[in-house]
């Protein structure tokens, strides 16, 4: 990155932030093959590999496990330095000893989502029936499938109940799906900068990205090779995505009309250069088929699927913290407020905060002390309540 951007907030996923060192040192992820997995669409995997990371220690009472769900382009490496890339995990700002999600206190589990491309089975994985990658033949997966697979991993790890499921963006959808699909397996649900179903604008931006990929000359119906890889299309998809993760104000502050270089033959705007950099670095770590698979899953997600919200939420038992950011125009606060309204009207305990932040959807990825404070105090406050005590706070469905 250009040095004039070093003092501005950044995320650890797509740019190295000057001076950031993970207090966790080097951390690893593990891959486990779980046998027999059937998707909602009915596709049968003989085995599915799940890449995951755990941090901290599971308490003897087994009441301190937090599952963290990543967004579209995240992975299982949530915190600590990745030995292969030398980069800190994507949420190293907020996960670690003494951080908002305190690994001295909580046992953190993070998985790479089904359909992804960072160790969990996805379109880039080998199809055992053909011996070559699934590519475009990879089955449709849903947010619900991702959550089912996470539940299977927890079974494998011997964890019956989670203290919390925390996720932002696509991860927030997973958190919501957890609350609905496994009501007895979590105490607290923290959906961040997310919604119960994409609106037309959110689908539209994803479709532009998908279009860029499938119209790349090297797309080849999804059966591309490393030599002929639809890098251009994927880069453009990421560029569009990245714009939606920022805000007008953040872009004006960060780039304005500055030029990357004053040389007369290279008077590119800084924002152009930044987007090209984002696109090109994304191509090195992401698979185009995964991009299609995951954005489809996000677009298809509908927590209520046409049913009445009260009916779906009637079975939920978790207590919620919903977080949105004032400048997030991709997942506008109104969507979070509507979610809270539905939760409350279903008699659930739901706290809500709309944090004043100028960094758009990316506000959860960057170093953001007010956000960290909210997360820390909520998790500590809820954990301090100990086992569910329906008599003390508005828990359960007794607020009708």
């Amino acid at each position: 990155m250009a040095s004039n951007q070093a003092n501005l907030p950044g995320d650890l996923q797509d740019q190295l932030v000057a001076g950031h060192q993970s207090p966790l040192g080097v951390t690893q992820t593990t891959t486990v093959a779980l046998p027999g997995f059937i998707t909602q669409s009915g596709f049968k995997f003989e085995a599915v590999e799940v890449n995951y990371q755990t941090l901290g220690t599971l308490a003897p009472a087994r009441d301190n496990a937090i599952l963290i769900c990543h967004g579209l382009s995240g992975n299982a490496h949530v915190a600590g330095t990745n030995a292969q890339t030398g980069r800190p995990g994507w949420w190293d700002f907020h996960v670690g000893p003494g951080k908002a999600i305190d690994t001295d206190k909580f046992f953190v589990i993070a998985t790479n989502a089904l359909g992804g491309c960072n160790g969990t089975t996805g379109p880039g994985s080998i199809n055992p029936h053909t011996g070559s990658p699934f590519g475009a033949d990879f089955p449709r997966v849903t947010i619900g499938d991702m959550v089912q697979l996470q539940a299977k991993l927890l079974d494998h790890l011997g964890i019956e109940t989670l203290f919390a499921v925390v996720g932002a963006s696509m991860g927030g959808m997973q958190a919501l799906a957890w609350a609905v699909d496994f009501p007895g397996r979590l105490r607290v649900c923290v959906p961040i900068a997310t919604c119960t179903a994409h609106n037309a604008m959110q689908i539209a931006f994803n479709e532009i990205g998908r279009c860029a990929i499938v119209t790349d000359p090297d797309w080849n119906g999804g059966n591309y090779s490393e030599a002929r890889f639809p890098a251009h299309g994927l880069a453009v998809a990421r560029m569009v995505g990245h714009v939606t993760y920022l805000s007008e104000l953040a872009m004006a502050r960060k780039f304005g009309r500055r030029r990357q270089s004053e040389a007369a033959d290279a008077r590119q705007f800084s924002i152009e250069s930044y987007l090209h950099h984002q696109g090109n670095s994304f191509v090195k770590r992401f698979d185009p088929n995964s991009y299609l698979c995951l954005t489809r899953a996000i677009d298809e997600f509908d927590l209520f699927e046409g049913a009445a919200a009260e009916e779906i939420l009637g079975r939920v038992r978790a207590r919620f913290l919903v977080i949105s950011f004032t400048s997030d125009w991709l997942y506008p606060p109104a969507q979070s407020r509507e979610l809270v309204r539905l939760l409350k009207r279903a008699g659930l305990a739901a706290s809500y905060i709309n944090l004043d932040s100028e960094y758009g959807h990316d506000s959860f990825l960057i170093e953001n002390p007010p956000f960290a404070d909210v997360l820390r105090h909520f998790l500590n406050g809820e954990h301090g309540l100990k086992a569910p005590k329906p008599a003390t706070l508005a828990g359960g469905g007794n607020l009708k």
Partner: protein, 199 residues
């Protein structure tokens, strides 16, 4: 505010009630009600830093203004809706109270009494908007939008079809029993709607 206000409200709320506290601040009083009265309750607060303090206490809290906080809830979701100390700051107090009676069975409101003798004397002798210990900010800095007295509040209740079930009055030092409109700095009222049809 006189701590007697909180003690009074605490006594008015029966154990295990469902309570919505509008303008809950750092959540100290809500937490106290949960502890002493075993209520189930939640707060609404505008200030993000105070919302964070509520979370630290393990409270359910909604960040937003009072009408947004009320709008989140179904009809009759609470036994009591509390509006302690913020009533004179509301842009549209009548609408808020109406909405509070949609969400709650009873409403408890406290407010600063503009009919207090010190206020009257300042207005009479200095001819200026009073600054008193209970109304400490000058008019251009106060968050109070309405300057109402105990008598004004009675008028409001009559006009809105609201019954004052219980009332208590305080000055800075103690409870006030006689001539509250002259002697009380703070009033707190437990209100019930006259069962008027919901608009």
């Amino acid at each position: 505010m006189n701590p007697g206000v909180y003690e009074t409200v605490e006594q008015w709320i029966p154990p295990k009630s469902r309570v919505l506290d509008l303008g809950t601040g750092d959540g100290a009083f809500l937490e106290r009600l949960i502890r002493t009265r075993q209520i189930s309750g939640e707060g609404v607060e505008k200030d993000a830093a105070l919302v964070t303090r509520c979370m630290e206490r393990g409270l359910v809290v909604h960040q937003g203004d009072i009408s947004d906080g009320l709008d989140q809830h179904a009809d009759g979701a609470f036994d009591f809706v509390l509006l302690l100390g913020t009533f004179q700051e509301l842009v549209q107090p009548a609408e808020i109270v109406h909405e509070a009676f949609r969400v709650g069975r009873q409403v408890i409101i406290s407010f600063s009494n503009f009919g207090h003798y010190r206020v009257r004397l300042q207005l009479l002798f200095r001819g200026r908007t009073p600054v008193t210990p209970s109304l400490p900010a000058p008019w251009f800095r106060t968050r109070n939008l309405h300057f109402l007295s105990v008598a004004d509040f009675e008028w409001f209740c009559r006009d809105s079809g609201i019954r004052e079930i219980r009332r208590a009055f305080f000055n800075r030092k103690s409870a006030v029993h006689y001539f509250p409109n002259l002697r009380a700095e703070t009033a707190v009222c437990l209100l019930s709607s006259n069962g008027q049809p919901k608009a």
